[in-house]
Symmetry: none
Amino acid sequence: MEFRNPQAIYLQIADLIVERILRRRWREGDRIPSVRETAAELEVNPNTVMRTYTHLQDAGILETQRGIGYFVAKDGFAKSLALERERFLKDELPSIFRRLELLGFSAEDMAHMCEERMRNPDGGGGQ
Amino acid sequence: MEFRNPQAIYLQIADLIVERILRRRWREGDRIPSVRETAAELEVNPNTVMRTYTHLQDAGILETQRGIGYFVAKDGFAKSLALERERFLKDELPSIFRRLELLGFSAEDMAHMCEERMRNPDGGGGQ
Amino acid sequence: MEFRNPQAIYLQIADLIVERILRRRWREGDRIPSVRETAAELEVNPNTVMRTYTHLQDAGILETQRGIGYFVAKDGFAKSLALERERFLKDELPSIFRRLELLGFSAEDMAHMCEERMRNPDGGGGQ
Amino acid sequence: MEFRNPQAIYLQIADLIVERILRRRWREGDRIPSVRETAAELEVNPNTVMRTYTHLQDAGILETQRGIGYFVAKDGFAKSLALERERFLKDELPSIFRRLELLGFSAEDMAHMCEERMRNPDGGGGQ
DNA sequence: GTGGTCTAGACCACG
DNA sequence: GTGGTCTAGACCACG
């Protein structure tokens, strides 16, 4: 039994950063907090944060300027969106359909719930 | 930052049991493992398991026979289904719609994904 | 032989609280003493009081505001009345009739005592 | 708060003996268990049992034959009945009416419950 | 052996 | 400071 989040910490931090970009908290070209600052904020080892940053750099979401810091890349928003959408379609959507099946809901039921939502957008909790 | 599952352990165990009932691994009238067995298997304190069992007893999903053990209640399946559906509609569905919104998908997009799924039921991963 | 009250302490405390609500000592919306205060007053473990409070919360008699305290629920009086009446009819009334039978009184005798009481309401001790 | 039965132990034991006489477990003239036997059975001090026996002797319910033991007195049944009936009318009945009042039942309601019971004697649990 | 209750004490989130 | 969760360990009733 998994009582702890099985996702690697550096990937959890990556999600957190991507989400801030998608929420427009950090915009393209913005400098984001340093490895040390982020490590202190999240109370994790700086090496873990460094791994997150290089991972997002590989994905084209972050850019580095040596001696200055890390920045949201020019296409950082679009790349973040693409990355998260891919994850959604690949991991989360199948999981949702499995859950619906377990509960005896059909994909059609879910479509109805979506249509209901479209007619009444404030029916469920916003953040 | 949440590196640990914020859900209380006794509720995680409850979900695990309810899922087994919904999957027909345990049927109505079946005796389920004793408090101590489950505690040993999951490596948690027996008190925590007891809390789960009494919680599910309050929900009408389990029944107890003192000195004998816990059993899936006569209406355990229907009660489990009702409990999980309520949780889905109340907690998970809003969270799904928030996630869709963050990713720039509309409820309509999601309805389309569901229709796609209806035409191609095996398109996403089964368990 | 029972030299100790066989009723669980957390249920005894529940009765005590319900009685205070029925006697209007605490009214709907009132904050009741904190878990720790009650535990100190009754000289029991805070966990035992917590068990009482969550039990009464499940019954719809108490409500909680995290970090603030426990309150008598909006329908706390009616719920308390329903709970106690159920207990009376289910547990106490059969016990009264058993006792009457042992003493050679019939249900008819008891009805006569009640009629006597109706004609002379102050005939027995008030609290 | 009273977590223990406030009734003195020697009186609890007296009730137990009187009940056995009323239930015809011990009949008039029967020898009842010795002080030591009863003390062992109930795991109390023999002095406490002795106090019970002399108390019931004073009430005319038990008789002693030195060197032989204690016996149910010739009028032991009638005396037991009178004693318990007095206690019922003096202590228990007022307490029942207070309880009814707290629950919003009138003496008339109770009379109705008794009439119901007369029509349906097996409606509540026998022992 | 099974469930059931209680204590003692720790630690957490929330405000 | 408030509620909430968890562990460790004890002891009980019931069968």
